[in-house]
Symmetry: C2
Subunit: 465 residues, 2 copies
């Protein structure tokens, strides 16, 4: 044990986790405090820092030519900025009372304690891997880390057939379906729900279903996977459900992630219903003045429902890191919460959502109306004016915007940002109808699709009472 | 004079002007009131109704195959919905005290009075045509009406050479430059200002200048046109400035528009500094309970500066019409004002602005800081990630967002909508840094360019005091 060997005159900040939230926090703290004022030690159990996990489907699909393009900052670059970064070193215990963490050097196999004045927990998420027969067989892949991506690419390079089965039809599932289509595979998506993209309402998910089928993807709905049958060589050969078997040369798991908070739980830190760490608005772990947490291991405040949510997303992790680094560096910043914006695509189909789905609204005790419209992303007469569908939820009586979902082609996804800002501002759908959005024929009809939806939602609010 | 011949039991609504604002108002009033309750008479001096003037450059450029695609609703369609539409009939006088308008049938040459209970003035804008030698010569074209567009296309079809000169470098000028490039012309843009797009700050206009030059367009800056020399055939052959002559087989005027308010002025209705009609928030002409005005003939409230502005734009005209029709139909709606959003493009270059430029802020008595950043519209590693430049203005001390300008390629223009909503909500740039905008590698870097600009603006606000 070396409790305080090598400490300078200043304080020591320890960061657990070397990806987006952790290294953003470390970097921002370093910008605010010199090495003499604040020593920064960061532990990362893997081989990479600060990389874009969201980019893995595009690397696998061939849009991004090589792995290193996904790495925003290497360990060497972090070290050059005065961060004592310890790679392949896993923190195995947080001693909150003692103000120290125990870490294992995964190469050497040795363990030691490091004390901290300030601690940042950025342990991320772990992918859901169902405990089913064959789940660990060769040919079954997760896609959360760069090593996962490389292993999948190795399997694809050596695969004899071209049949891919994707388990799960959320963001990762649909993005991996696109990646495998781009690699020339016959793709089957096996989905537990009745429609893909359960982050959308089912009526909007249905549009995604139709478009994916149109791309030649075989969609299997309402299907519970029961196992991953293997061949004589021990490799996966199919995905089994209660009713059928889907032959597979490669299987990709895209079932979602859970917060990686076993360390935090063992240390007695507060977790929410989704098992994510609970923080205050300055991203401090509740009840702990000198511990912050951010990224995929925390729950966040949903500004629309007022409830805690769990959303693993790189853009939040970066923002959290920025806030944490500012506060740990002696400044002041807060993260007010999220509205639940997410965008994705399957080939040419763009998918976007923000705010509450119908079931979220009910769960939050909100009564609501809905309005769904079809419009185009450009003036109807302008070339390439493709249809998009916009669904809007507004609160009954008050008319407050509660959520927007958009499915369509070019220009559909980022249009949801208008609704994200309107949600943040607590706007009513009536106020939205007069929003001064950019108009020119190549970019929008004279009434932007979001405004058309707002106009219809205004009528629905009026008709409901 | 037929003061009230043919009136039904109900009231009569008279609409002056058959384009976006006027016919939106008429249509919306008709939705709210049956012909028995409200007679609607609309006068249009031209040959078309409800068409997209904004689409003319794309028709001239060949993106839109024919004129009729630009017409949203024909006179016959309006009549089928119970609107008594009188085409080629120009209102020549408004008698406010008498509650009547005098109109001239331009075909028959006859005049008659029509009384109204409620009046909508939607007389639009007139293009600026400088009183210079040769301005009326064949080959010199405006592009405000469908007839203008057809005349220009006729000239292009008959032109012997391929040299086009565009006078003016605002929205119309740059869009017409694109149209003429697409038609295979050598294009020269003669511009009074030092940079194109005076609706941007000069530093952002400079980026447009560079891009247009890169497209092969000859940009002539700081140039005051002195005349349009003609050849022996009487056709224009050049555009002359104090220093030079620019040979031209065709000349397009894109110098801007002014509110068409001579009728209103003669009637004693209130006009603002820009000669646009002044209305209240329900789009009623100030001081006149039964007269509304909207579209390109009115001034609007700028929500950022608190001052009246003149902005001729189809999307505002449609919104005004909707508000006016609702109120004239006995309902209630208001138009809260604008934030000054505008988007455009020159070939692949997208141009957007919202809120105040530096000189607008000064004029409004606001002190401000600026922040300019470069980022990409997609994750840097994703194919097609092009650079965009975002400039942000924030108020000194309060940090309130004052304006955003964006110049870049795909995905640049409509990103300004985020800032438009944030301006409407009165957000500070610090609040903007945590906006929950859509993130996925094909659509945005992990920090959206608008957020990167907001982060830099926060630092500028802090540094200024």
């Amino acid at each position: 044990m070396n409790m305080s060997l090598g400490r300078g005159a200043g304080e020591r900040l320890v960061v657990i986790g070397g990806d987006a939230a952790g290294m953003s926090a470390a970097s921002q703290a370093r910008r605010m405090r010199s090495p003499g004022e604040l020593e920064i030690v960061a532990f990362e159990r893997g081989r990479f820092t600060s990389y874009s996990a969201c980019g893995i489907p595009y690397w696998v699909g061939g849009d991004v030519p090589d792995r290193d393009r996904l790495i925003a900052r290497t360990p060497e670059e972090h070290r050059a900025r005065g961060i004592d970064l310890r790679m392949r070193t896993e923190v195995t215990e947080i001693d909150v009372a003692g103000g120290r963490v125990r870490a294992r050097d995964l190469e050497a196999g040795t363990e030691s304690w490091t004390s901290y004045d300030k601690l940042v927990i950025a342990t991320g998420a772990r992918p859901v891997r169902p405990a089913l027969p064959g789940v660990d067989a060769p040919g079954v892949h997760g896609v959360q880390t760069l090593d996962d991506g490389q292993a999948l690419l190795d399997t694809l390079a050596g695969a004899s057939g071209r049949r891919a089965v994707v388990v799960g039809a959320g963001y990762i599932g649909v993005e991996m379906a696109e990646a495998l289509i781009n690699r020339g595979y016959d793709v089957t998506v096996v989905n537990r729900g009745s429609e893909p993209m359960s982050t959308l309402d089912p009526d909007m998910g249905r549009l995604v279903h139709k478009a994916m089928t149109g791309l030649g993807i075989t969609m299997v709905d309402d299907a519970e996977v029961t196992g991953f049958p293997t061949g004589d060589d021990g490799r996966v050969r199919a995905v089994a459900t209660a009713d059928a078997e889907y032959p597979a040369d490669v299987v990709v798991l895209g079932i979602g992630v859970r917060p990686q908070t076993s360390l935090a739980r063992a240390a007695g830190l507060p977790l929410g219903h989704r098992q994510g760490l609970l923080t205050d608005l300055a991203m401090r772990v509740r009840g702990h003045e000198n511990i912050w947490a951010g990224g995929d291991c925390v729950e966040v405040l949903d500004l629309v429902s007022g409830q805690q949510r769990y959303i693993a997303l790189g853009t939040h992790a970066n923002k959290h890191g920025q806030i944490i680094g500012t506060n740990a560096g002696g400044g002041y910043a807060t993260f007010p919460g999220v509205v639940g914006t997410a965008v994705s695509k399957v080939c040419e189909l763009e998918i976007a959502r923000t705010g509450l789905r119908e079931k979220d609204a009910r769960r939050a005790g909100l009564q609501y109306v809905t309005a769904t419209i079809e419009s185009t992303g450009r003036a109807g007469y302008y070339p390439g004016a493709d249809t998009m569908t916009v669904k809007m939820l507004a609160e009954r009586r008050t008319g407050r915007l509660l959520g927007v979902q958009i499915v369509g082609r070019e220009g559909a996804a980022k249009r949801v940002d208008v609704a994200a800002v309107a949600l943040t501002a607590g706007m009513t759908v009536e106020r939205m109808t007069s929003l001064d959005l950019g108009y020119a024929p190549p970019f929008s009809p004279v009434w932007d699709p979001v405004l058309v939806a707002a106009r219809k939602a205004v009528k629905a609010v009026a008709a409901a009472d």
